[in-house]
């Protein structure tokens, strides 16, 4: 595989996407903080829902993309799928960690604890570990092709936990409440939540464009280093 198979950098629309993302994110935050009243029972702390739920959504979306790209890689062996997968995995890790921190901040004043080993929290922690493991395994593999193959397998097998995280609150007894629905939530809260979910979906797209660009640059550097080592005669 040579560098030319990788996409060349081209003038993109990323700054425009970034600007649109920023506008929707700010609108979502303002809606969550100003446009709707806080929950009658929980008070102000309930507004954390408008960031906690979208962060969790973004993380799961990111891991789903890792799964799809891993399958595609194993079928087509195109290094681009591998680079998209690793980009998505890193973003998913950042937002899983953010979800856990936000959940902890929400849990302390409502549940009374920062953390408890209930099935939802435990499976989410396992999800974080799986994808951190994914990056660790990548860092051990020196051969790009082997790295891509091994991490694709983890990207597929590891995804098993993602639906389990979602279903955990329905399958098992938990301290975490089951997912809210338009039936369990006031209409105005639903709209604000959907706006924030949309904002975080744009955010995912923007971060992916930027992270993929970085992945390509890093890969080109690696190709350069490997070809130099070849010429140097190992």
């Amino acid at each position: 595989m040579t560098t030319t198979e990788l996409p060349r950098f081209k003038r993109g629309r990323a700054p425009l996407l970034g600007l649109v993302t920023l506008i929707i994110l700010v609108a979502g935050a303002m809606a969550g903080l100003l446009a709707v009243p806080a929950d009658a029972l929980q008070g102000e702390v309930q507004r954390l829902m408008y960031v906690h739920v979208p962060a969790a959504w973004l993380a799961m979306l990111a891991f789903f993309v890792v799964f799809v790209m891993s399958v595609l890689y194993l079928i087509q062996r195109d290094p681009r799928w591998d680079l998209i997968a690793v980009s998505s995995a890193e973003i998913g890790i950042v937002f899983t960690a953010l979800t856990l921190v936000l959940g902890s901040l929400w849990g302390k004043p409502t549940w009374g604890v920062w953390w408890t080993w209930d099935p939802r929290l435990t499976t989410t922690a396992i999800m974080l570990m799986i994808y951190v493991g994914y990056l660790v395994v990548r860092s051990f593999a020196e051969d790009p092709e082997k790295r891509a193959r091994w991490s694709a397998i983890i990207g597929i097998v590891g995804f098993v936990d993602v639906p389990i995280v979602y279903l955990s609150v329905l399958w098992w007894r938990t301290l975490h409440q089951p997912p809210s629905s338009p039936r369990s939530m006031a209409g105005e809260f639903v709209y604000v939540l959907l706006l924030n979910v949309a904002a975080f979906t744009f955010l995912y797209a923007y971060l992916m464009v930027r992270r993929y660009r970085l992945a390509v640059a890093e890969r080109q550097l690696e190709e350069l280093r490997l070809s130099r080592e070849d010429r140097g005669g190992r």
Binding site: P37, A40, Q42, G43, P109, I130, I154, L175, S181
Partner: protein, 149 residues
């Protein structure tokens, strides 16, 4: 080369192992975060003194909070069985009668559940305050209500 393979292998085994354990555990329904009062009573002497979690609702008009000694007494119910719970320290602010709770501690021979940690299990329902209601005041009145007992 072998070292790297070993690491990759170990990582894969650990991940697959964790996932399989989790799924298998779920299918066998042995992942139980808390017991209900009915289940705990059925186990009885078998679990005396063992650390476990008990979940249910706070029975209305059963809360006895002594702010001076910091002792909290209430009855936990699943609609079928009622069990007295004794705890020390203030419960979370959302603790109130009829609310879902999960308590950590152990079941004693005298039939009382001695808890060291009371957690509130709130529902997935959210609504804005009604006319004249203010979330913050509700929050405070819940706290004051409990403290005043």
């Amino acid at each position: 080369m072998n070292r790297r393979k070993m690491w990759i292998g170990l990582g894969l085994v650990a991940i697959v192992g964790a996932v399989v354990l989790l799924v298998a555990g779920g299918l066998r329904e042995n992942v139980v975060y808390f017991l209900t009062p009915t289940e705990l009573e059925a186990k009885g002497a078998e679990v005396y003194g063992a650390p476990l979690r008990l979940g249910g609702q706070v029975k209305p008009e059963s809360v006895d909070w002594n702010a001076e000694s910091g002792r909290l007494l209430f009855v936990i119910t699943d609609g079928e069985t009622e069990l007295p719970v004794e705890s020390s320290g203030a419960p979370p602010a959302m603790f109130s009668e009829g609310m879902g709770v999960v308590v950590e501690g152990s079941y004693r021979e005298d039939g009382v559940f001695r808890s060291h940690n009371v957690m509130v299990k709130h529902s997935n329902e959210y609504r804005p305050p009604e006319e004249g209601e203010h979330p913050k005041e509700i929050y405070r009145s819940l706290v004051d209500d409990e403290a005043g007992r």
